[in-house]
Symmetry: C2
Subunit: 200 residues, 2 copies
């Protein structure tokens, strides 16, 4: 943590901020090391002293993305409602975040995602998972928490990706379809939980 008040001040975080600006303004394809350097106003090779390569910069961007992501999901935790309903709300918030920050979401989860896993990134990702896993446990019990969490995550992630990639063909209101999907899913969870309780 010794990147402060040298030539630039704090180039590292400035570069991450520039990356986000470029991401929203020009899209992922325009997000290059040199573009970030230009945006900040430093020479083209300056970023290499803070990020060994482009993947490391993307990892840093993804990390801050995950931190905001967790905050967005956190807002659902406050609501005083039934656990299963809260899980559904969390799913809706998940997709809303993805649609509100499409380019950032692509960096976080994209197939061209950085295989470089920074400490910061892995902890941020773990926090997001814990969020969902906890909500699943409260909604379906500890035994089913793992499968329910992966199921919910798969649904919302898949939905977000397919909508973003425009892979959903003759469909009208995708938000409405998401709600219906989550309703069916909730029914499934209810059925499984009920069946599980009936056994004992």
């Amino acid at each position: 943590m010794s990147e402060k008040n040298y030539h630039h001040g704090d180039l590292r975080t400035a570069l991450v901020q520039a990356a986000r600006t470029i991401l929203e303004r020009d899209g992922l394809a325009a997000l290059t090391l040199r573009a970030c350097a230009r945006e900040v106003g430093v020479s083209h090779a300056a970023p290499l002293h803070h990020f060994r390569n482009l993947a490391e910069l993307l990892a840093a961007v993804a990390a801050v993305g995950f931190e905001e992501f967790v905050k967005a999901l956190d807002q659902c935790s406050d609501i005083q409602i039934e656990p299963l309903e809260r899980l559904v709300e969390m799913g809706i918030a998940y997709v809303a975040f993805a649609q509100a920050n499409p380019a950032l979401y692509r960096v976080m989860f994209g197939s061209d995602r950085p295989n470089v896993v920074t400490e910061q990134l892995s902890t941020a990702m773990r926090a997001a998972w814990e969020q969902l896993h906890g909500a699943s446990a409260r909604a379906a019990g500890d035994e089913r928490s793992l499968s329910v969490a992966t199921l919910v995550w798969s649904v919302v992630h898949g939905h977000a990706m397919l909508v973003a990639a425009q892979c959903m063909p003759p469909i009208g209101d995708t938000d409405e379809l998401l709600k219906q999907s989550l309703e069916i899913l909730a029914s499934g969870i209810r059925a499984v939980v009920a069946n599980n309780e009936a056994k004992f």
Copy 2:
């Protein structure tokens, strides 16, 4: 359709084949127009007369990917089992295809997917959708077919992407988890269908 037996013979399809070879051997990052030209043994600019840009070549690769994809899902249609169970089998086949052809799947559905939509590509995509939509209709009825199809697609697509991107944290057997997910999902569909029938 006039690209035959000139200098090379059929450079267009040769390039698509070369693209698949590079994709499996060296990964998506190494898939460039020039690399394809090298692989085939033509000059670096030769591909431009068959694909206006890299995105168009990727679209062609994605198209053949979707065609094979539909074939893979088709094999589940033969099985003489209950429609809902067949839908689950189709979901498993879906994920199996994605895991067997990770790089190809990335080109087909990746976030860096070509926004160029060729005629060949869009028809191939539509065929895949029809496949899933039809199976959903048989399993859950026509009324629910749309929401069920999007739900199933979201689940399997999301699962495949998350596993491929190694975003699933402390999880053991992902295949087992997929089966559990699809079971919960089937319960939900059953419940919704039963509820729907009870209404009338």
